[in-house]
Amino acid sequence: MVDLNVEIAPGVVLKNPVLTASGTFGYGREYADYLNIAELGAIITKGLSLKPKVGNPGVRITETACGMLNAIGLENIGIDSFITDELPVLQKLKAEVIVNIFGNNQDDYAAIAARLDQVEGVRALEINISCPNVKAGGIQFGTDPDAAASLVAAVRKATSLPLITKLSPNVTDIVKIAKAVEDVGSDSVSLINTLMGMAVDLDKKQPMLGNVTGGLSGPAIKPVALRMVYQVAQAVSIPVIGIGGITSAQDALEFLLAGATAVEIGTANFVNPAVGAEIVTGIRDYLELRNYEKVTDFIGSLQ
């Protein structure tokens, strides 16, 4: 039996490298009908803020060639409801939980990180510095190395939880940002968040999305994600978690090969809610067939 354990941050050993991406897996329990969520490496929650948030008005999703645009606007139930209503359910389901957080400014981020510090059942935080849908918050942090570093440093001070910084692909040099957050104590990085895109409704002569622009996800972005993961994995010494257009075990294996210690599955969950479990099985079968003893021997073995 091949050993699928991966350590995605110091001390955070997961039973396999398949995680679910924030915003595509709800708070986790919605999927309990389709798969045993305890069998996943971990689930990452919808992005949470200090207070509940309503999100964007108008059409929020539209499909594009091999992808989709979303402009949900980070709607969420707020950290307190999460802790009281959702987390206990996840613990009962024996899921490994990573909480994705965001705020409108550095203090918000630090406050939510502090709030989660002593909460049982939270394995790590994923800091979303890259959501393209929040004008005031995310985007500035995610596109400037100094701002990103200062934000992550503030979060680092506020909590002892392991920190994964989630990077934006909408930048000239993602490696610079990855290194900047590594330097201030991010335990790992995850990438990519969505590419900023747009669709128009020719009949109505209007943008398709209420928010005009939105985040592109799905198979369409996989080549960009793979390239960035490869570049960042070459440059940093912390673990890299690969995200973007993964729909099959083959896709996941490609990211591992390129240097990702683990992967997150996003949009594919909408198409097939059981995809996470199927990918775990697919990775295991692939490695077993080729006589690997552990997945870590395969990771980063691209020639």
Partner: protein, 281 residues
């Protein structure tokens, strides 16, 4: 939910048993399904349907109402409007499909899960493809046996050819009164279906179920308010997942009673059917 040990949603691969054309761009698919799935079907519930032969374009499944079902099959009526619905509509007998469902909360009829209201008789209002949703209250034997409280079917479409499913409905409910209306007068009166509704609402004590394009639902809402009459609207917001995780489908609805607030509801899990007075268009 798995939490309670009871599986409510199913995810399965299946086959098309039959594809019958209703018009040039509307088809009726009969699809094989497990018995457990069929037992959970109810008027107004829906499924997410994906072509299993395709690659990743289109990517997402598409939502369609379950308009009829039996022991181990169900039917959908699909209007081919874009790439997803066209690809599904062109599939022939034997083609493979992926299905999630049954999803959502349907109309408050007796045998549907959330019994919200089942005293009055029902005025059914369908606009265009809204008939697929309304038909789910009329066609299935399961429903037929338990409730027979529909008063009239008011059915509007652009023109006569687009009035689909009428033969089937007449067969299942021979005594049902049906009034049609078309934009061009090619069947029934010329005009909008809400005009027919106004006439029906002259008599009080009924409840209205309506499904159709958003502008039609808006005016149904207005008419109901005018007559101070109760009703339920089935919405068709865009959906990516169908089971409450993407937050793509949310609809603004009125907040907690008396608070004057608004809140957002997931059409896929809290709907698609909402009390008419709660929806804020």
């Amino acid at each position: 939910m798995a939490l309670t040990g009871e599986l409510i949603l199913y995810l399965f691969k299946t086959k098309i048993l039959k594809n019958s054309s209703l018009t040039r761009d509307i088809v009726n698919l009969r699809i094989a399904a497990p018995e457990d799935f069929c037992r959970k079907a109810a008027p107004g519930r829906f499924i997410m349907l994906g072509n299993d032969n395709n690659l990743s374009d289109p990517l997402l499944k598409r939502p369609f109402g379950i308009c009829n079902w039996g022991k181990n099959w169900f039917e959908v009526v699909i209007k081919m409007v874009g790439k997803g619905s066209r690809q599904l509509g062109l599939l022939q007998e034997g083609a493979l499909l992926s299905v999630h469902g049954p999803l959502g909360e349907g109309y408050p009829v007796k045998n549907s899960a959330p019994v919200r209201n089942h005293d009055e008789s029902v005025i059914m209002v369908a606009g265009g493809m809204g008939i697929a949703s309304i038909a789910s209250c009329l066609l299935p034997t399961a429903v037929n046996d338990e409730i027979k409280r529909e008063k009239v079917l008011l059915y509007g479409a652009a023109k006569a050819e687009e009035l689909v499913l009428l033969d089937k409905i007449k067969e299942c409910r021979p005594n049902l009164r049906i009034e049609t209306i078309t934009d061009d007068g090619s069947s029934g009166r010329k005009g909008f279906v809400t005009e027919l509704l106004k006439t029906e609402l002259q008599v009080a004590g009924n409840v209205t179920f309506a499904c159709g394009p958003e502008p039609m639902l808006k005016s149904v809402q207005q008419v109901l308010q005018e007559f101070n009459s109760k009703g339920f609207l089935s919405l068709e917001n865009r959906m990516a997942c169908g089971f409450g995780v993407c937050l793509g489908c949310v609809q603004t609805i009125v907040g907690d009673a008396g608070s004057g607030d608004v809140k957002s509801a997931k059409v896929c899990t809290q709907g698609p059917v909402f009390p008419a007075e709660e929806v804020i268009f």
